[in-house]
Symmetry: C2
Subunit: 505 residues, 2 copies
């Protein structure tokens, strides 16, 4: 339960014709944070102590009930949305009597952990001065706090911080009499790290509750430069395993090599035919459905700091693919990547044999308006054009003998990309507010390179989606020693206060 420290009312209640000043709201939030750091950290620690792997349903429900309590104290009407066999969605509403409604998406589940890799128990939140590998040492969780200190624990960075920050942003506003300029809804997913398999079911069943003018997707890290960042899209994804065949059993390479077909050689030709030495896909139709970048997107790209140049050094890259395009521009194009290739042994594991088969794992990152179905068709057509017959299950010896070239293709599930229109009024207003907050240093990323099935929300709900991350870029998301830098938690309170107070003003 929240027990708010009283804060002097610095500001008069917002009025329609006299919206509160952005700088004043920032100051209000900062003063509130100054006075409430200990409480925020205690509450964050309490939340992080509840294990939250999506498959651990009893603990997931403990998380959900705990969050319901926190958000009720912040003024929300809370309820758990239920779908058979799924962690509940923690849903909340705060009706400010405003014209527009913002839906805040957060996920409260976390990645499974390997505790033996961590410096401290993943579900025993621990405050340290820095990352252990940079010499960080444990400190008592007591004010005063250095803003560079970090709280370590599973989901500290991904994605429980927004829960605490939203509650306190509203507390800060309430204590100083600032009204939300938009109605606020909360959609806290309990199975994002498991791939949100029931998301579409939740959206369908609770459609009547979920109307909104904008979805704020509060997940992921801020920019590597520590600048605030908005991302307006994600890429889609489709992958497949490709297997080509040699002899029915391994053969002595001296007696039968260069007579029996070598599946590794065939696979190299097949993969090389798909992707040129410069990284461009050579599959007919691969770029056909690609939506051209808008002027707003291109101009946003120009303003992003050039991290790719320092990253090239950090990663010891001797070149980049399609070098005339910077990293963020590449993300507006589809990518054809080889994730793995396997046949026989190498190095000490080499054996003088011709192998029965060779495998490759291939993935394609999609952009609007590509569809997984069209890409699948283009890929299969391409493979057939290289002289292959395609099968989807393990071929019989008869099938293998009947075809000079035979490939097995196993498609994974695929889904399309999603990208918002940066010039849509509410989307543009959000960018403008955040840009003002950061004195023009906001990073507007037209799309993230990674993939999320945002299209499910985009298609069903009809509202634009913008990704607003608050975690530090080095939060070790998904890995060992996941953490949140305290300044990022303080900043998050300020960001939410500004957005709630001014987005609809």
């Amino acid at each position: 339960m929240l027990s708010m420290i009283l804060l002097p009312a610095l500001l008069a209640p917002a009025q329609a014709d006299n919206p509160p000043d952005l700088v004043a709201i920032q100051q209000t939030a900062r003063q509130y944070i100054e006075l409430n750091q200990q409480q925020m950290l205690d509450q964050f620690s309490d939340l992080l102590s509840i294990p939250n792997v999506a498959s651990d349903l009893p603990n997931i429900r403990r998380n959900a009930r705990h969050i319901v309590g926190l958000m009720e104290s912040a003024g929300f009407d809370m309820q758990l949305l239920e779908v058979e066999g799924a962690p509940p969605v923690v849903f909340g509403e705060l009706n400010a009597g405003a014209e527009q409604t913002v839906m805040v998406y957060v996920h409260y589940d976390g990645q499974p952990v390997q505790p033996e890799l961590w410096s401290s128990d993943p579900w025993t939140p621990t405050l340290r001065t820095d990352l252990v590998e940079r010499g960080g040492v444990t400190v008592p969780p007591e004010a005063p706090f250095d803003p560079e200190w970090r709280l370590f624990g599973r989901s500290a960075g991904d994605d429980k911080a927004p829960v605490i920050a939203i509650a306190h942003a509203l507390a800060a506003m309430s204590r100083s009499g600032v009204q939300p300029s938009v109605n606020i809804k909360l959609f806290f997913d309990g199975e994002e790290e498991a791939g949100s398999p029931h998301l579409a079911q939740f959206l369908d069943r609770y459609e009547h509750l979920l109307g909104a003018d904008l979805w704020l997707f509060c997940d992921g890290p801020v920019h590597q430069t520590r600048r605030l960042q908005l991302a307006y899209g994600v890429r889609g994804h489709v992958g497949f395993n490709l297997r080509v065949y040699g002899p029915l059993r391994p053969l002595h390479s001296g007696h039968y090599g260069n007579w029996a077909p070598n599946p590794i050689a065939d696979l190299t030709h097949l993969l090389a035919s798909m992707r040129g030495p410069d990284g461009r896909a050579l599959i007919d139709g691969f770029y056909e459905q690609v939506r051209a970048p808008t002027p707003a997107e291109l101009s946003a790209l120009d303003r992003i700091p050039r991290v790719d140049i320092t990253m090239r050094q950090e990663l010891a890259l001797g070149r980049t693919e399609i070098p005339e395009q910077r990293l963020e521009r590449r993300l507006l194009e589809p990518a054809l990547n080889f994730r793995g290739i396997q046949a026989g042994g190498t190095g000490e594991g080499s054996r003088n044999i011709i192998l029965p088969s060779a495998d490759a794992s291939v993935e394609i990152r999609l952009v609007p308006d590509q569809t997984p179905a069209a890409i699948r068709e283009a890929v299969e057509r391409h493979i057939r054009e290289q002289g292959y017959e395609l099968v989807e299950t393990e071929p019989t010896p008869e099938q293998r003998q009947a075809q000079p070239r035979l490939a097995r293709i196993d498609w994974g599930d695929g889904y399309p990309a999603y990208r918002s229109d940066m010039t849509q009024p509410l989307v543009a207003r959000l960018g403008q507010l955040m840009d003002e907050m950061t004195s023009g240093e906001l990073v507007r990323l037209p799309t993230m390179g990674g993939s999320l099935p945002l299209y499910i929300i985009g298609e069903r709900m009809g509202a634009p989606i913008v990704i607003l991350p608050v975690a530090n870029h080095d939060n070790n998301q998904h890995g060992r020693d996941e953490n949140l830098r305290l300044q990022n938690l303080w900043d998050a309170v300020e960001i939410y206060a500004v957005v709630f107070a001014l987005l609809g003003a």
Copy 2:
């Protein structure tokens, strides 16, 4: 110790102007075998019961001493040739006062065993009616023997059978008064399965003992059709591991894919540039030193039964590489094979990452007159021409960053091929004898596809080498349930008797 059963003298002693008849010698040998099967099998079992992994020096010496006893009884002057740290070479001489001398090479060591895979203990010789997987059952090792029965044990097929067969061939000749037509020397290697690392040292140190006009290399199996076979050469070998580089650490394929170079993609282009879709090497100079097949070799090829056609079915091959050439013809050409390729995972093991490196294992089977040095140079030149800088150890981050394309190449030891001239008089005479023995069914294989460092003997000793195998083709050499079909042991006695009696006649 041999205790020979007396055999009636069927033939008069050989005379220079009246060489014994081939058919008569075959009959002599067959009658001898008929009467001595039990003793041969007992002696073979005794020899197979002595463990013979080259690194097991005490047991290797037990084998050597045992063989010395066997061959002394057969009339040889025996000694152990020694080189520091090596199993001894069991050396023997039988001076028949002939003009020409034949050196018989056999190896008495065997491959290491995995007893848990065997149907019976590898060093407890066991007689069965057939392979266990074909329904074979154990039978008492007592005459009368069905010639299709097999004796199971390590080195039954590879390569202790010639030891027993040579001793009994001489016993059969001696009992019927047939004189050897050549002087016979024995060179029994004790570390062939370990790669004969001291062979050159033995040849150098004991050069004064090892003069011969022909080396008979008694190892390997007869033809798959069960026809007798002579092979006149082996291929050379050189291999390397090839590694190409991506980013210094694994990267998220969504955020950095198709910007950071993909080492799997680079590797596919590099390997595809080395070997065309039809199997031909595309490396400049690869075929430059290749010796053209002689008319004798081409005509021998024409007479070999077409096992490749049935093998294509058995192996479910939808095509063969360079299909205008039959399998045995392909062996007269060098082969470029990819033995393994590895980077990341495939199938269930796929992860969405761009990998730091990708590896391939490549081997080249050499033919005369290719040299490993020239091939190494051609391969490295080819890789450089694809835009790669080559390194031989793991590159530093600075080296990786300094080159658009960087490859590490790790060469294994290599050695050249060896091939005899089929028309050399003693070589031709051997072929003629064996062809007569088999009513024209002898298979003359210009070269085996596999590799052995015969060049060491060929270069130093100056005498031609011919490979004369006696084991059944399905002897499971190197594997579990290694065996010798009894008929192959009986045949071997007959073969050696004919060769010793008539080669110099």
